[in-house]
């Protein structure tokens, strides 16, 4: 481009302008604004974020929203509700009411931590809390399955109800595994996906088994 070759400024023309850079006054204002806003706004914003992630889990697409803004509210809510619903399903409900809740809690969180460590050791690029977030959110289909099982068990506990529950829990287990695999397996080297998927499969299998074998007394 010959026209652009000569872009020098003539020596006799004074160069003038403003040197001061306008300070971005937005960030301190933003901090103040999230402090000053009503509590309802804060809660609604968090709830909307959690709700959006639930939608991402139910319709797993390859979006990075779940990974980018991770939060552990959803997993906590799901874990607690699942553990509450799984209570009271033992022979002596007086003795085993307590440990049942602790069992479910420990299984979910300890299992998620182990899977995360495993995927990191296998060379994954995902961070610790992102992985916990994904695994926790993908418990949602199993929580729905638990609700359905409880409703079915209200009607009766026969062979038909068992078959219905088996189908529902099986379908939700597959959905959970697929959803979490869709998010987590991408962060692995391609030939090792099976090594990461197996523990996830085992994890959701144990949870599904606990849901399927639940019979209220």
């Amino acid at each position: 481009f010959p026209g652009l070759a000569d872009v020098s400024i003539a020596q006799d023309i004074p160069v003038e302008g403003e040197i001061t850079v306008p300070v971005g006054s937005q960030s301190p204002d933003e901090d103040y604004s999230t402090l000053d806003e009503p509590v309802k706004d804060t809660i609604m914003r968090d709830l909307k974020a959690v709700g959006k992630k639930f939608v991402h889990v139910m319709y797993p697409r390859k979006s990075s929203a779940l990974l980018r803004d991770w939060d552990l509210w959803g997993p906590l809510v799901l874990c607690v509700s699942l553990a509450l619903m799984l209570q009271g399903g033992s022979a002596d409900s007086k003795d085993d009411g307590g440990p049942q809740f602790a069992e479910v809690f420990v299984i979910i969180w300890f299992g998620a931590v182990v899977i995360t460590l495993n995927s990191k050791l296998l060379g994954g690029t995902i961070s610790f809390f992102q992985s916990l977030c994904v695994l926790g959110y993908c418990v949602l289909p199993l929580t729905v399955a638990m609700l359905v099982c409880r409703l079915v068990l209200l009607a009766g506990a026969g062979t038909v109800s068992f078959i219905i529950r088996l189908i529902v829990v099986g379908a939700m287990f597959g959905w959970s595994t697929l959803a979490s695999t869709a998010f987590l397996a991408d962060s692995q080297p391609p030939n090792r996906k099976a090594l990461v998927v197996y523990p996830i499969f085992l994890f959701y299998f144990v949870i599904s088994w606990m849901i399927l074998t639940f019979t209220p007394q």
């Binding site: 440990p99 602790a102 069992e103 420990v106 299984i107 030939n191 090594l195 144990v206 399927l212």
Partner: protein, 367 residues
């Protein structure tokens, strides 16, 4: 002159540069020694700029370096005392080492809080650095990374190999020091155990089902591995801890298969067949590998006997301790009337259970 000067200077100037190292102290001390005439207001500047001057006394008088580090309370007390001394000495009009120290202290009075803060800051930095170094050294999961460097085909091959006893025991067999396969097998065993405990109506009073299952399986894997490693050390076998963990872990594959089958099809004889065949195969493999790495008949006998006994007994224990339903189900099938569901598996409905058992029984009868 230089020594008391250095001592005196080191005493008060040290509180600023105490954590900076002994060289700073020496230089400050020497700087102090040369600037006796400096007024109180310029003490801090001297103390800070003195390190630029080199070549002071190489001996640091430790007993004069008091440790009034960050505590302004101590400084206050000392300062108070020194003020008293200074008043007494002022009457003499003698500019001794004490006065200079007082002068310095008084001069630092306004900055005492800042000095305290500086020192506290430095302490915090040092502590943080040490803690983060220790953390990154010991809690680094990258230590375990090489043991997880496997491909799925390798894992599958090793799983199948764990059931095939090797024939060549004169040559040390290679053991892959990998931890992914064994860890996954232990977790699978935990899951199968959980399933078995739930279906057999095991009630654990103190603790949870999950805790018992995890404790049993991990305890076996880690404990027996350590014990066998210790024995191997005594018997002079060529095996490392990771290899032992890996060998025993892959030996659990046979346990997983056996328990998976026999927790669902409750048959004494079936379990014994599986115990002998599957358990025996994996035991033979482990024993053969160990024999190939040990020299001497007695040592081989000790090692392999212990391993075989522990391995087979563990399978027996897992079956019988967590699986109380066997007699109940057999009674159910023998008798014409179904007794009430007291000891039947509480969550798999009787129908599917009875179907499985009847099928197995029919197959056994036709064979």
């Amino acid at each position: 002159m230089a020594a008391p000067g250095a001592a005196g200077g080191g005493r008060s100037g040290a509180s600023a540069a105490e954590w900076g190292g002994f060289e700073d102290n020496m230089q400050v001390g020497s700087g102090r020694g040369r600037r006796r005439a400096a007024g109180p207001g310029r003490v801090s500047a001297d103390a800070v700029s003195a390190p630029a001057q080199g070549g002071g006394s190489a001996v640091i008088d430790m007993e004069n370096m008091d440790d009034t580090s960050g505590s302004s309370f101590e400084d206050m007390g000392e300062m108070h005392q020194r003020m008293k001394e200074e008043e007494e000495e002022e009457a003499d009009g003698e500019a001794g080492a004490g006065e200079e120290e007082d002068g310095e202290f008084l001069g630092m009075k306004g900055l005492r809080g800042q000095l305290g803060r500086q020192v506290a800051d430095q302490m915090w930095q040092v502590g943080k650095r040490q803690a983060s170094r220790a953390f990154s050294l010991y809690a680094n999961i990258d230590i375990l990374r090489p043991y997880f460097d496997v491909e799925p085909v390798q894992v599958r091959a090793r799983l199948l190999e764990s059931m095939i006893p090797v024939k060549m025991i004169n040559f040390p067999q290679k053991i892959a020091g990998e931890l992914y396969g064994p860890l996954m097998l232990v977790f699978t065993l935990v899951a199968i155990l959980l399933h078995g405990m739930k279906t057999s109506d095991t009630i654990i009073r103190e603790g949870t089902l999950m805790g018992t299952a995890i404790g049993t399986c991990f305890g076996y894997w880690l404990g027996v591995s350590s014990f066998m490693y210790f024995l191997a050390y005594l018997c002079n076998a060529q095996i490392t801890m990771v290899q032992m963990l890996s060998l025993l872990g892959y030996g659990l594959f046979g346990h997983c298969i056996t328990l998976f089958v026999t927790y669902n099809i409750h048959f004494h004889s079936l379990f014994y067949i599986f115990w002998l065949v599957v358990g025996g195969l994996s035991t033979l493999r482990m024993v053969a590998v160990l024999v190939s790495r040990t020299v001497g008949h007695t040592q081989r006998l000790i090692l392999c006997g212990t391993l075989a006994a522990l391995h087979m007994l563990f399978l027996l224990y897992l079956h019988f301790a967590y699986h109380k339903v066997v007699e109940g189900i057999l009674d159910t099938l023998e008798g014409p009337n179904m007794p009430p569901f007291q000891r039947v598996a509480r969550d798999i409905p009787v129908v599917s259970n009875a179907v499985l058992n009847t099928t197995a029984k029919a197959i056994a009868l036709t064979l």
